[in-house]
Symmetry: D2
Subunit: 347 residues, 4 copies
């Protein structure tokens, strides 16, 4: 029973099959191959964005940091949630790739920025003069680090504020598929149609081995991006193997099916928590559940070998409770979910 | 008939099989898994270097730039051959990762640094004061960008000069397997036993999909390296998939067999060139052949669909000749080699 | 009546005289001159730190960012107060100079870090693994951005926590002279004797034209620092002109006299505020006063041409009040102080 | 007798007087003062460039590196002469400020780039694809590091090639005044009128204490430049003291007079060398003389306390000769020049 992360799990068989399928023969290296071209085209279709520039890299940190360094200068201010992955979990990658940009972190319930907080922060940044650096970009995560999902309208509202200030909006979509599946909107509706300018579309947590797409909906924003990718060591010589993974996910809606499966497993976990008298720290909207359970129950789960992160740790509001994060993948075994729910129910 | 590069070809079946073999179940992410631990251990054995710190990344540019940024400060001078991959083909990655280090390029026949040239350059650097930056490291490539191979003694001689100046020696081993196979020495004899401090052991060109090992033989040199790797987006969340590739290559001497196969194909190509009255620009010692042939023959080859790079272009010494680089992989078809030789023979 | 900043004022006549005094003749450039050697020696004496490595630069931002990049790697976490100048007012210089380090900002009354908050933050950073980067340094400002002054004991307590975690302590001393003058302790007691490892000793706000000293009390920490200074363009070719300014300040205790004069003027302003029924937002301890006055009084002051910053803006706790920052220099005219106090008194 | 460098000498009395003249009273910090505004305006007039954006910094390395980082991305290729100051004497500042740009160094007689060499190099860079980075800028130095001076026509020819490739032209004018004085053309004719896009106009070697101007003739190129300057610690809080120096130089043609004086002294030195049977390595055109004299004469000069650099060292073409660089300033004493010439004449 491993609920530690969706990236604890392997790749979908279709992804592995795609690697083998494209393995034969010699092709031009560094992305000048047919698989890469096809994968880019398919993703542009999936996003209904024929003009978009789209590139594949292997990690989410690379995707985010490359995208941000493309839209923010070294002296830029990038607004994000205080729990954003780019702030808490990328070891300073945005600062390094951009050669100095600052992340300006903002509070917000359940991992979400609010229009009011964002607007106030942007205004404050505008008054900084040289001292505080220059407003450069806004970054949101969807699904968020708390497993919640911005609605189409919520993204639109943040985008409106961002654009009004003349800034681009970046979306860290490490779990974009889970967000799309959760909201029942299209990928386009969840991104460029409501103002997302740069999208990191996650493949790894969705069922790839190691693959993400960086998307710039306005090609002008991608100017020089290939050089950045190369200079940071993120162009594969056998680039087809990155593309093939993403192509497999895009085929026949696999990406959305896998996300829906992961979300459904999390939904069952959330029900189990509630049924057992536990509580949710935030609403369960994608493939992560943030639950609060008694510490004894936690010890029982540990003893049974259940793996998850305590998050936040310590648990806000009480010594006899623990907060835990449960994350599901498309292939988290149903029986693991059921066993854990049963364990919770036993109290 | 594609002789453009060894990275034009796919992965060895054993590599792909290894991906599938490690796919099942959930493991801890970011390298805290058993496959990664085992692959690191196996490579330390292969290198007879039980103390070494060893990490896997996906690209050669990442491996080199990370290794160099680890051993050179922003104000460092890194000595290398003027045709070194780090100078000509990595889009400024060493400069970017190190935040400013300078590559000081040196001439040398057949892609090799000579002890005299290196010693003189280091001395010159020592006299620079603040103006020129501080001597930081020496980097060599083996097999070189010209397909030649430093002997054990040659590496030892360069290492002696490097160490006498108090500097570490980096070896770009994108084709280290080909070098080892060519010289018939061990990987240890070709690296730390003669003074290599940081080795980038290439897997991709050897038959992996996308995998390289960065090795620091003195663990003290690796201090903080994991953070650099993370900050630059080169830690995979599903790190086992990087490790599994390298593990497959290391098993049963596969890496050396594949390199020997590639080298043998290149040897046949070189014979074909000479038999047809062409000449070699440098001795053929690994899996690359630098040949000079009449321009008519080149046109004929083009017409027949043979793919290779003109290198150098234009060809030194004559308008009616072209210089071409032919690179073989372990799986370059024998019949392609034969057909091309036959084509050359027809004149 | 200009109370906007101590750097709104010019240089002390002794500083200007020192420039002229060292102007004649030719000396070796880039700091290899007698004035520089003497100024470094005098400052080591002033600090009772014969081993210290000491270098002069022209701006406080350069001093801080160079010092921090010397002690923190690109993936480092630097702990500081949320109102620290390095966070709010240096346009991302620490991030740029270090090529990626993160400032981890902490709350604290009156611009001061508390031992408890710092210890908790350091512990939290230690548990980050690769995700959050590595604990690298702690930075405090004395006098603080709120004009308050850490006592010798307070610095010692923060240093103890910092060192216990194996980290170095940086002190942004843009107004170090004011702090020393305020506490009546020696410069040594306020720095290395209680654990400061890297000190930026401000000259500009103290009466120089543009000069600061960066001090590393352990010479080993300064290794390579001269290269950083050069690479960032902060070595003057006519370096004597930087040194001469600092030498003038160090002579006959001028630095301390000037700081005491500035502090005394601020004390009188604070009295004026209180006498007029205004309040202080934090205790007045150096040459800055943070006052709260009715908005009408503010309008009157504006009308009278008094210059200061609204800080913080908006004023916490009430629409009919404004918060203002009043900063004095050694040469803020007494009559300006008196006139402003009189203006306040009129209500 | 010190001919080591023009920056071995102090500042012109008018420069020092200007510091004192602007010292009184309080002004807004960070460049929002009247002296700065006036100095910028005067320099725009001097350059006949009313649209230009012009900023003052304290060092030539800062000026060059800031200008280059403004016009070249991290993955940029910057073409320059192999003896360019930015390559040999700035400790990697261009690489650091740009976060990775590469200097592509080119040969050329007497410190000058030729149109043919530059055009070929740019073409070669264009064919690099991602590997070699992207062509970003061309940088020339005038007067050159060999004391020679590009003519108006020579600059125009290089600018034409640069612009044809869509690149901006940077001019390192640490000794721009000497170049202008040498050619008898105007500053405009030597810069923007023949295609210079970014000019670093040196004040320090011309008689300032520490001041340079960075000029962007097209304001669009200066976009965000103030932030770069701030982030790198090159905005003085008491910015008027930078501006005042430059203003003094610009007044009444002082800059040109001083340069002419320095050039004239060098001319006399060159005559002395030739009269004594020595030879010039390159024509004397500004305030530097590169001479070749017998080693015995060199020893005699050393014994007499004459200070200069051996340059290049060792001297090309003969063990019994030394090459030396003699640099004069506006205030190199006439008698020193005469004494040295006499010393040479004695043989």
């Amino acid at each position: 029973m491993n609920f530690s992360s969706d990236n604890a799990w392997g790749a979908h068989p279709a992804v592995l099959a795609a690697l083998t399928a494209c393995n034969d023969g010699a092709v031009m290296a560094y992305g000048a191959d047919a698989v890469t071209a096809r994968a880019e085209a398919v993703f542009r279709e999936l996003l209904q964005a024929p003009q978009a520039v789209l590139r594949f890299v292997a990690t989410g940190t690379a995707a985010n940091a490359l995208a941000l360094s493309q839209i923010a200068p070294p002296y830029g201010r990038i607004y994000c949630h205080e729990d954003a992955h780019i702030e808490t979990s990328e070891c300073g990658a945005p600062e390094f790739f951009s050669a100095g940009a600052k992340l300006i972190t903002l509070p917000g319930d359940a991992g979400k920025l609010t229009p009011e907080t964002l607007a106030a922060a942007i205004r404050s940044g505008e008054s900084e003069g040289l001292n505080g650096g220059r407003n450069a970009a806004v970054s949101i995560t969807n699904a968020t680090e708390w497993g919640t999902v911005y609605s189409v309208g919520e993204v639109a509202a943040l985008a409106a504020i961002t654009h009004k200030a003349g800034l681009p909006l970046h979306l860290d979509g490490a779990r974009f598929a889970n967000a799309v599946a959760s909201r029942g909107a299209s990928a386009a509706q969840m991104s460029w149609q409501v103002g997302v300018d740069a999208l990191c579309f996650g493949g790894t947590k969705n069922g790839a081995m190691a693959a993400e797409a960086v998307v710039f909906f306005d090609p002008a924003r991608a100017e020089g991006f290939d050089y950045r990718r190369k200079q940071s060591g993120h162009v594969f010589s056998k680039q087809r193997f990155l593309a093939a993974q993403m192509l497999a996910l895009a085929s026949d809606g696999l990406w959305l099916d896998l996300a829906a499966q992961a979300n459904a497993r999390a939904a069952r976990l959330a029900e189990g928590v509630l049924a057992a008298g536990g509580s949710l720290m935030v609403p369960r909207q994608s493939n992560a559940v943030f639950a609060r359970i008694p510490v004894e129950l936690h010890r029982k789960a540990q003893a049974a070998g259940v793996i998850y992160h305590l998050w936040p740790d310590p648990c806000p509001g009480g010594d006899d409770m623990v907060a835990l994060r449960l994350v599901t993948a498309w292939n988290t075994p149903d029986e693991d979910v059921l066993r854990f729910c049963a364990l919770l129910a036993q109290g």
